[in-house]
Subunit: 391 residues, 2 copies
């Protein structure tokens, strides 16, 4: 049984079809696992083989196409009728002789859509260069159009049912961050602190469990804080060091990312303490400035003006849309809080605002995941916004 009511999927589908119509796309082949989940409810760790959901303007419900052994999983998790759950045989797997996208092309042709305009997600994870070529090969009379991010933009405004899951993720995120900060101590191995974080992510709360976040825990310290995507080691945390914590919680694939900085030791540098105060002040006042109908770039401007008072600037964006997702990224790749982004904020858009300020040999970061509310904003988690000093 799908996670949400059928009406919710039908509404998602109608909004997707409207965008397809605007883009001149008749048939959409969506391989992004988050989009497959959004459109059909499908949720499984099967995106390591080609699979997709096909939406056609002239069909009421989408088609799920995946590996035969995953048909049972599609029956469990989607709202689709049996006739629209189609498995390709095992001999399509990992061979040069044929490709699952040949099979997808054949299904599209059989449904009578072989001469239509077919939209594909040209830059989506798990839609490969070969997959595209093989799909074209079996649809020689179709026109192809880039439908990259088309569904992602439909996902931007969440339903109340989606927001409810993000609030639950927020409650788990509180436990995740608190666990991390509790566990951090000089002498504790990075891998053991990370193990405690994972434990908290999955066990969730007494009322509901957690799901795997789309990105692994990042808890770098020392010189590795300058290399943001290195993962943990066996080394022990040291005294008088800063640790950046970029973590998340996930509930039914809906995320609440959260970032904080901790300092292990009695003597945090005065400049770090000062940077933390200024950054948190900026985070607070930027969040407080949020209103529906504001532009995404206007939110960033509030922050930029604040830190300019201290002669500082931050080059990268300060936030991005997020919600439903799968590895390797929880970001939706649509709206960003940055100069030039003229997305108009609407209630139930959800963002991760992350303010990271990096100096030569120290830095501080603090973030909130929030929805735009009817009057301002609502954060999903409630961990104090501050530099955590562990003496």
């Amino acid at each position: 049984m799908a996670l949400f009511a059928n009406e919710e999927y039908i509404d998602r589908l109608n909004r997707t079809k409207a965008r397809m119509g605007e883009a001149g796309i008749d048939v959409l082949v969506s391989s992004d696992p988050a989009n497959m989940n959004y459109l059909a409810g499908y949720d499984g760790w099967s995106f390591y083989v080609p699979q997709c959901v096909v939406v056609s303007l002239d069909a009421d419900t989408p088609i799920w196409i995946g590996r035969s052994m995953d048909v049972a999983g599609a029956r469990h998790t989607t709202f689709l009728p049996e006739s629209d759950i189609i498995g390709y045989p095992e001999n399509y797997i990992q061979t040069l002789e044929r490709h699952p996208m040949n099979f997808v092309g054949d299904v599209i042709a059989e449904r009578g859509w072989g001469q239509k305009t077919v939209g594909v997600e040209m830059d989506a994870y798990y839609f490969s260069a070969r997959g595209y070529a093989e799909l074209q090969k079996h649809l020689p009379d179709a026109r192809f159009a880039n439908a990259d991010l088309l569904v992602n933009w439909v996902r931007l405004v969440k339903s109340d049912a989606e927001i409810a899951l993000m609030r639950e993720a927020g409650q788990i995120a509180n436990r995740v961050m608190t666990t991390a900060i509790d566990r951090l101590e000089p002498g504790v191995r990075e891998c053991d602190a990370v193990a405690a974080v994972y434990q908290a992510q999955m066990s969730g709360t007494a009322e509901f469990g957690g799901d795997y976040p789309a990105i692994v825990p990042m808890m770098p310290t020392g010189e590795k804080t300058s290399a943001p995507h290195l993962t943990w080691t066996d080394a022990a945390y040291e005294n008088e060091q800063m640790v950046n914590l970029e973590l998340a919680a996930c509930r039914h694939r809906y995320h609440c990312p959260i970032a904080r900085t901790a300092y292990l030791g009695k003597n945090p540098p005065a400049k770090l303490v000062e940077l933390a105060e200024r950054t948190v002040e900026g985070l607070n006042l930027t969040l407080e400035a949020i209103r529906p109908d504001m532009l995404a770039e206007e939110v960033e401007l509030v922050w930029r003006k604040h830190i300019a008072k201290f002669g500082l600037e931050k080059e990268s964006r300060i936030g991005y849309a997020m919600g439903l997702n799968y590895p390797p990224d929880w970001g939706e790749h649509t709206a960003s809080l940055r100069p030039g982004d003229q997305t108009v904020l609407k209630p139930n858009m959800t963002f991760h605002m992350i303010l990271g300020m990096w100096m030569d040999n120290y830095g501080f970061e603090c973030s909130e995941s929030f929805r735009v509310s009817e009057t301002g904003y609502e954060t999903f988690s409630s961990v104090p916004r501050k530099l955590f000093i562990k003496e």
Copy 2:
């Protein structure tokens, strides 16, 4: 500092160049994160943006090309000289105006390779349809060839240093499986059992920590055992039920997968107990049959003959090459233990042999990760091969 000695990377490179030469490829663009790690040492959770390692027949060392903010991570983890670690600017990220693969094309052209034959991994994860088109756009005079799995095949025979890491992964795998079986009890929520597994995966042993496996823990029970890629829920395990455990441990990206079946309750069905005995007997004798110079398909035949005695057959392959990897899959997509695979087994090839027998409403699975040794085989973990009955 890279994980292995420079000589090991040079050897990998030479073997890769030999295959490139055979395939008529002058310049290889490898985006598969495992191949990037193998060729250059690079290890970071940055594969959610386009990145690659470029190997040219006429260059001594590869080039790493990635996002600017990941250059520090490349300095930390690769053996490459500073001149061969190249970051693309932030304005290449997530925009329709330009693409990181344009930048990669420009670098290749600048090095004087713009008219060469360029190999790309057409079906690799994280090399998108658009990435390929954009690379072609900036290399208009190049010829393109499919180099899919070229490096994967080079990875097939492991070095002793790699085997040492897989043995460590095996020690962690013992703890992971033991923890899972200990934690499984009627009334325990699936998410809590999974949380304990994650904890064991990362904390590893007292001597060394664990790394994140390429696939999440799979511990389905009840009717979900027929849907192999659904992940856990909040539901509690029930009494008198079977649980399939498909788990793994990872050490510096090297995996040891391990699968077992547990039965919760005092009354395992007699047919399940019998199936377990026959499957384990088959696993034992198939492993014992392994010798260097045997063909991969001959290994499978040993198993097939064994279960045919009981009127059974297994449709899918019984094993596959694995080792170094990243999400979403730890399999190497090269040699498989299945009919028709004529790969000649050599010492230090490493496989996961997984025997899963699925009947209408029950089933049993048991697996071993092993290397082909000079005289037979060596398993990496040492969990008893049996049906675990938890009364």
